[in-house]
């Protein structure tokens, strides 16, 4: 679906200033049907990479192909592409209804009022359809962006920090809509800092650091199991066995870890003391753990 091969992008911030290397040999591949997440620190080059895939930036060197073609501004390639920008870069003077119709019409087909109204109804925007975008919350603007994906059933979606600034309810709603679009067969490329969200949605992840991909794999391979340790959460009764390494106290509950070979001792102990055990599972590295490990490993000492 998307192939980026050794992309280099450098800007000159001003006539007397030096060059900024935004992308420094970035290579990655997004496959058809992927929910692909780009992860990295601020300034790592995630958004720049996305702008390259969208044709908004031309690489100084290297090659980008989206659906087998080089992305160009406004090319027919975009007939099956939708993009939700990071900042609210919408036409703020348009109302919700006008903007939905406008963005949908830019795919070259006339959109009936019924289609627009149905989508607005589905996204809970029907009552705000006469409200100018300048007066809408970020969540409402993002929904206007999503409306175009629903009207045209886009095959490829680019989402740049889509949940930044949204309230928890909207985030959940948004996540469900994305799952629905992905299940329909769309490929989704998303930038996000919210690693827990990526764990919930993505199936493949690329970690970008210093303008290049430092790791790219299936999400499940980032969430490796540490087969030597168990995570346990239980309610202790006074003293604790010495093989439990305490992680944190959560009221009356304790989170800790135990070596694999002491699992049966721990079970005997909890049975003997009649303790409530909330959780006992093999220790799993989160995406956050993998991210820190990889990024710190990539950093010069």
């Amino acid at each position: 679906m998307i192939v980026a091969d050794n992309i280099q992008i450098h800007f000159r911030r001003g006539p007397l200033r030096g060059k900024v290397h935004a992308l420094n040999g970035l290579s990655l591949e997004v496959r058809d049907g992927d929910f692909f997440a780009l992860v990295g620190q601020n300034g790592a080059g995630k958004s720049t990479a996305m702008y390259c895939f969208l044709g908004l930036l031309k690489p100084n060197s290297g090659k980008v192909e989206v659906m087998g073609k080089t992305p160009e501004l406004g090319s027919p390639l975009y007939e099956s592409v939708a993009y939700l920008p990071e900042e609210p870069h919408y036409h703020l003077y348009l109302t919700v209804e006008e903007a939905t119709r406008y963005y949908a019409s830019l795919y070259g087909k006339r959109i009936s009022s019924k289609t627009v109204n149905d989508v607005l109804e589905r996204l809970g925007l029907a009552q705000f359809k006469s409200l100018p975008l300048s007066k809408c919350s970020k969540g409402m603007k993002q929904k206007v962006g999503i409306a175009q994906c629903l009207i045209h059933e886009s095959r490829l979606l680019f989402l740049d920090e889509p949940t930044r600034g949204l309230d928890p309810l909207l985030v959940r709603e948004f996540r469900e809509t994305l799952r629905e679009i992905h299940q329909r067969g769309a490929t989704i490329v998303m930038n996000s800092h919210v690693l827990s969200e990526i764990e919930m949605l993505a199936n493949r992840v690329a970690i970008i650091d210093g303008g290049k991909v430092v790791a790219q794999d299936e999400l499940r391979n980032f969430l490796t199991l540490d087969k030597e340790l168990y995570n346990v959460t239980f309610e202790p009764n006074g003293s604790m066995p010495d093989y439990v390494t305490l992680v944190e106290h959560l009221g009356t509950v304790v989170k800790g870890s135990i070596p694999k070979e002491r699992l049966y001792d721990f079970m005997d102990y909890t049975r003997a003391h009649d303790l409530n055990v909330h959780e006992c599972s093999l220790k799993k590295a989160s995406l956050e753990d993998s991210f820190f490990k990889i990024v710190k490993g990539a950093m010069p000492a």
Partner: protein, 267 residues
């Protein structure tokens, strides 16, 4: 293609309807014109009514030219500065279509305003019992053609520079200004100062005068129409010539602005 142009033009019309700056300009222009027409309301003289009508028409046409510049300048610079073009160019709508739509939207609004001004002049002529002269139609058409040239020129400038710099540039770099400069240098040379520097300057001003856009390309030939509101049979052809000039100017400005838009980074 047609649907894309239609969608962009409708969005641009919404911008014009809601742009407070443009509406404020329009109101100020109307207020100034209203004040200018006040004395005529208290006069019975036909000559004074004609002079007032001519004055109002001339003022309104000047405002129409200024307003036409604002139509393309504000739309293009606000689209570039708000970065909303990201949402357009990541759809199958290339910069060529968006720019053409923007130009057509500004031209359509300018045409509408020219028609409104012409209709108002006809109504005022009837009200003050001043004969309706063909010059009204000629001047309206000429103003509209000049407006198209201004829209095209400011479309180009707004695509490559900050709007404030674009306005300053347009005020300095226009054919009228360099025609005057050329006239002064020629006068100085005729008066006996034939230094090399002055002759080089005269040539430079001449070429800039030729190259830079003119508001009224055949203004010298049609001066009489503006003062008498009468059109001789052979004078209508200047409208066709002016239209041809503006078409060529618009095509050049469109291609140059398009080239600038295609090189920009929309991030």
């Amino acid at each position: 293609m047609t649907e894309l142009i239609r969608a962009n033009v409708l969005a641009n019309f919404a911008y014009y309807r809601r742009s407070r700056l443009l509406i404020a300009f329009l109101l100020v222009f109307l207020l100034l014109t209203g004040l200018e027409s006040l004395p005529a309301l208290f006069s019975d003289s036909g000559v004074q009514a004609f002079n007032t009508l001519q004055g109002i028409f001339s003022t309104l046409n000047l405002y129409l030219l200024l307003f036409a510049g604002g139509l393309s300048l504000f739309l293009i610079s606000s689209s570039l500065r708000s970065r909303s073009l990201k949402m357009v160019f990541t759809k199958p709508c290339p910069p060529s279509v968006w720019l053409a739509s923007t130009f057509l939207s500004a031209v359509a609004v300018s045409l509408l305003l020219n028609c409104v001004v012409l209709a108002s002049m006809v109504v005022m002529s009837l009200f003050w019992h001043v004969p309706i002269r063909a010059g009204l139609l000629f001047i309206s058409a000429d103003t509209f053609i000049a407006s198209v040239g201004i829209i095209a020129y400011l479309m180009l400038l707004a695509s490559v520079m900050h709007p404030a710099i674009a306005v300053t540039f347009a005020l300095i770099f226009n054919a009228g200004m360099f025609y005057d400069f050329q006239f002064w240098t020629q006068s100085a040379i005729r008066a006996g100062n034939s230094s090399l520097g002055l002759r080089v300057l005269e040539k430079a001003f001449h070429y800039l005068y030729i190259l830079l856009p003119m508001v009224h390309a055949f203004g010298k030939k049609t001066e009489g129409i503006y003062s008498s509101l009468r059109v001789l049979h052979g004078e209508w052809k200047y409208l066709v010539y002016a239209f041809g000039y503006v078409l060529a100017l618009s095509a050049f400005c469109y291609l140059a602005a398009l080239s600038a838009l295609q090189r920009k980074r929309y991030i």
